[in-house]
Subunit: 430 residues, 2 copies
């Protein structure tokens, strides 16, 4: 039985207990929200990740790190290092988006070394196999698609991105809509290429029950992909995007009825002033399903800094109720990320998630900030660094610039406001 | 006559014309908003900055870079390099916050080399002189304070941060309020130290007309400092902060009546969900005076990454109407920033400002994003990089990872969604 089915039957699983303890909420809270489809716990027993997590309403905002090879760079060891560094930096989940080298081998190696839930996008592998075996993406058979899904589920993948909302209907909307960047989802573009050449409906939509039958066996959580997500500010919140979201809402209902855990993926590039409406729309159209956003990137104009454009949008999205932030690295739009890009991407996204958790009123986040600020007030540098989201960097930075007295930093030196206030406060208390 | 007096008399100055042209608005728009006190043009004729800028309602969001020595690090050349790098990276103004070495010499050197408006915080110099000459901050005389303000105005400084709202009244509020970080403004702490030891009112408040007489002569714009700004999430939007803001609103009225240009400084550390209310409060209490914010930093927990915590808050604040963002570097809370920190701080804050400008509906910002996304869609890498907010970094990053075909990047290689869509779209059009 899936976590969702057990929750519906009033059963509390060990995974629900673990999640409840981590979050500081009751077992019953997790069970109830899971039964309502407002929380998911991606957990495939074949993988049995040591550190499962809950994603959804009332929980801390989670962070995903995307790794994986491309046909230009495909070394297994490099991907294992990225997995390790992601988890060490605090990613709650990892997605293997490999499209180069021996994809099954890469995935299995990562699964063996990944203590957190692992996600994939199976259509990549189906497409690559089709190019290899049949010469083109269009040559991919429906059976190939389902066989890949089953293979990956059997390997232990905990959640799948499936672009089921890329349909004849949403593609028709795309044709009627002037977009600058058309489709920027790789999975979406693969399916549109297949659909347009074969003049057929998306098999992941047409045979959605077949998808559900496979994933249910392994309790793979479905993450309904947004193949039509806007890839530029100008394309945000357009008819194409919202049409797909309507379809995803319908499919989410079908998942829940069948006992399959589901979350919804969201944009993408989006101006700051559209984020709140988008979160509200997703929560309404998908009846409170967890919202998993990529960014949103609040401007198109900062290649080299998209970890920051995404953190600005992600913090805001999560503060309004998005549950799960996919990191974006500074390499986005430019290249495959380096190890350092991966680490920085996770840290930056954790900062956005934490800022949102404070705004969401999550006590443990608010208490944490009070603790670090108390250490700062006392000029307890050791403790301040110990409580930092990244514990490595601040210490290194501080050690590089030595101050003449130990209790201040070189920014203000003797004119440290904290130190001046120690003196003034003694006077004020008289 | 000051810019404000001329605007009130229906005169359009060359500076107003320059600002109007840069912003793509009419001369009359600038004049009218200036007369209403909703726009300022910091411009001291003695300095006559080559690149003046307008700050306020209806204009693009501006970015300030703080530089300056401390008693631990005080090299003039380093500060000149910081000035240059700030301006090259796109800062609209620079503030010299020096507290080490020969402060007058540093300031004059920067003024000679600064094509944008320069700001200072005169109380720093008064305090340092007092420590040197009279042994303590408390030994600073009222005449010293006003003499420093006049000296700096005569040197050509274009705007002054003056912490006039740190008064017996707001300090009383501070005493009644449990704060974690008390006062984190250096200027605020200096004044409180002086007030508490001398049992006297803040001279910048008590003799505000004397302040106005000096700055008016040189048309130095006053930036009313928030000496009581919250230095931690827990302290945000408390009675102390809002009490000071009320006082600043009253003082802003007095500035305008006297023909002195004025803007208002704002926090600080602040949870995401309090930013909108804070901008609204400032705009109401200060009758639409330009709002100059330091961050806000949306969490206390990310030392080493405070350029990012500030960009998250700054983008949001500006999207709600804040007009002027003071950069924060990743060195905040840890050390004096390096040259690289300064450059990165300016770029990051410009990203936040640009994202806000899109949300504010500023056409030139929206058009810019459409242009870069069109280049991206066409896989025109040269143009994409040319249009980037930072033109240096993306090119370097891309050159480091060569892709096998020139028209894609190593992230997706042959599975580039843009490239796939070229093929699919040809099919869809049939």
């Amino acid at each position: 039985m899936t976590q969702l089915e057990q929750a519906k039957k009033n059963r509390i699983t060990p995974q629900m207990k673990k999640v409840a303890r981590n979050e500081g909420v009751s077992f019953e809270f997790i069970r109830e929200k899971l039964a309502e489809g407002k929380i998911v716990i991606p957990y495939n027993k074949i993988h049995s990740p040591k550190r499962p997590c809950g994603i959804g309403e009332g929980l801390t905002t989670k962070v995903n790190a995307n790794i994986g090879t491309s046909s230009d760079y495909s070394k297994i060891n490099e991907e294992l290092k990225k997995t390790k560094i992601s988890v060490l930096a605090g990613a709650h989940t990892v997605m293997d988006l490999s499209t180069g080298g021996n994809i099954s081998q890469v995935r299995r190696a990562i699964l063996r070394n990944c203590p957190v839930p692992l996600g994939t996008v199976p259509i990549y592998q189906s497409a690559i196999n089709a190019v290899k075996n049949n010469g083109s993406i269009a040559g991919m058979s429906e059976n190939d698609i389902f066989a890949t899904i089953e293979e990956q589920a059997k390997d232990g993948v905990d959640f799948f991105t499936l672009h089921c909302g890329v349909t004849l209907e949403s593609v028709a909307r795309l044709k009627n809509q002037e977009r600058i960047t058309d489709v920027v989802s790789r999975g979406g573009a693969i399916l549109i290429e297949w659909m347009s050449k074969n003049k057929k409906e998306n098999p992941l939509y047409e045979h959605f029950d077949r998808v559900l039958d496979i994933v249910k066996k392994y309790d793979v959580t479905i993450s309904l992909g947004d193949g039509m997500r806007p890839g530029s500010i100008a394309d945000a919140t357009d008819r194409t995007q919202i049409q797909e979201l309507i379809l995803l809402g319908e499919l989410a209902e079908r998942c829940r009825k069948k006992g399959v855990q589901v979350m919804i993926e969201g944009p993408g590039h989006m101006p700051l002033n559209q984020i709140q409406a988008n979160v509200l729309l997703q929560k309404r159209l998908c009846h409170g399903a967890p919202f998993y956003v990529l960014g949103p990137l609040v401007t198109d104009s900062a290649p080299g800094y998209d970890h920051i454009t995404a953190a600005i949008g992600g913090a805001q999205a999560a503060s309004y109720g998005a549950d799960f932030l996919c990191y974006v690295t500074r390499s986005e739009h430019l290249r495959l990320p380096t190890l350092e890009d991966v680490r920085e991407g996770v840290i930056t996204t954790r900062i956005a998630a934490h800022a949102a958790d404070i705004a969401k009123g999550i006590k443990k986040a608010i208490d944490h900030d009070a603790k670090i600020s108390t250490a700062r007030r006392k000029r307890n540098w050791r403790k301040q660094i110990e409580l930092a989201i990244d514990r490595e960097r601040p210490g290194k930075m501080r050690r590089k610039f030595k101050s003449s007295t130990k209790d201040v930093c070189t920014m203000c030196s003797e004119y440290c406001s904290m130190k001046l206030m120690d003196s003034a406060k003694r006077e004020l208390k008289k």
